[in-house]
Chain length 256, copies 2
């Protein structure tokens, strides 16, 4: 299995603090040694960093941890391989384009005997069940909305119908973003927290590191973080509802 | 306009030396300050680093320059914007998937009044003529070969037909790879060099740095480098033929 980390905000925010704790689980405090990746939206563009090395040893992860990249939507993943060998092509998150926007997808789970009917519009490059699911998801959106992108709520409903069919094959926790908002589906484990004024201190679970968010925020900032397991030990993380697609916009949980 | 750098090899090779000189042109010895990017194939996977900052100032470029990523096919680009503002979504190279392989594309030139008929299978995310051309190119390949990927020579012929039509809109130097081989089309400026035994010293044009390739190669290594302008001042670079799509495989110029 794997672990997921997502962020959705109302102002471009860096993820250095949270990524520091998350990264430690990729071979340090956790067993997820089979690669890691992170995608940052900047406007409609995406910076995608992928590495089949354990995040704890990766020079690219070191850069990401130190270099504050500010983004409204971030998706990260550390991998413990189930299907597909360790390799760059099997490293999450995955990226494709639909309707002139990049879409980023990361999955934690295991879809067994999963061979969805793919029409060729999106085909997996690697061997994971996860990338197959992502290809089928985008194909489904494209055929469901042939006239172009619908609004967020219609997208959420389509994703919920897709998730309902797909989770019959096994655990299907996923994060999905097109840079506009963040969709989250919990099957087994996923919690979230919204940080907003009044801000407080936060202390990582995986390293003895604290941050005072008062010093790095403005009063209107709102930041939602989603993680497989809570990243801090002095804040209250809320489990997400099971088998629902939750929509985050501007750092707020707006629908599920 | 912009500058292009490509590498195609028979053994995974790092591009640190060449990238060092190339990077200097992105705001140091050259005027290409509007972003830069580089894509490394590792098997079927891709590491894609993009940054709208000048390469000479970019922390990500610093990492790429210092961290030896070994690859058979690399495409890099430094940008001086013509169409589309400076921004991540307008930064080359671009990536899309076709036939279960990632394709990487970078362009140097300016296609004027260029609005190819796009059917929606690939749509540009940014505003550049380059990304429009790439989307149209992949759409053309997909419709030309509906049964799946043809062999390299058939691909080369299809790309040549595509380039012939497209260059009527303006300069259309491009590099394209699917990780298997490298296609190069010269409209105005593009030269190449093949490094093989007996290896020699090379000295960068843009920085006073030399490398002795005898120390970092084995006798069977073969490395083809393609660049808008030669990167070294003590080696013979050969201009590529104009208006031809040249195919490089295993570090060798095999067809044009």
């Amino acid at each position: 299995m794997c672990e997921l980390l997502g962020m959705n905000c109302n102002v471009p925010t860096d993820i250095c603090f949270s990524f520091r704790g998350f990264r430690a689980r990729g071979g340090g405090t956790g067993v997820h040694r089979d690669g890691w990746g992170i995608a940052f939206f900047e406007g409609k563009g995406v910076r995608l960093f992928l590495d089949p090395q354990p995040s704890i040893e990766s020079p690219v992860a070191q850069l990401v941890h130190q270099y504050p990249i500010r983004s409204l939507n971030v998706i990260a993943h550390i991998r413990k391989a189930t299907q597909g060998p360790t390799g760059l092509e099997n490293t999450h998150p995955f990226m494709r384009e639909l309707w002139g926007r990049y879409w980023i997808f990361a999955h934690n789970g295991n879809l067994v005997d999963y061979a969805p009917p793919l029409d060729g519009s999106y085909l997996p490059v690697g061997q994971t069940d996860s990338e197959r699911a992502f290809c089928h998801l985008l194909q489904t959106l494209r055929t469901t909305f042939p006239d172009g992108p619908p609004d967020r709520m219609a997208l959420r409903a389509a994703l919920e119908a897709f998730a309902e069919k797909t989770r019959g094959f096994g655990p299907f926790n996923f994060l999905l973003s097109n840079g506009d908002c963040l969709f989250v589906h919990r099957a087994t484990e996923l919690s979230y927290i919204v940080r907003q004024a009044p801000f407080a201190m936060a202390h990582l679970k995986d390293e003895d590191v604290s941050i005072d968010f008062n010093e790095v925020t403005t009063p209107n900032d709102q930041v939602a973080l989603v993680a497989t397991l809570p990243l801090t030990d002095n804040e209250v993380w809320t489990p997400l509802p099971v088998n629902r697609v939750v929509l985050f916009v501007d750092g707020e949980r707006v629908a599920d």
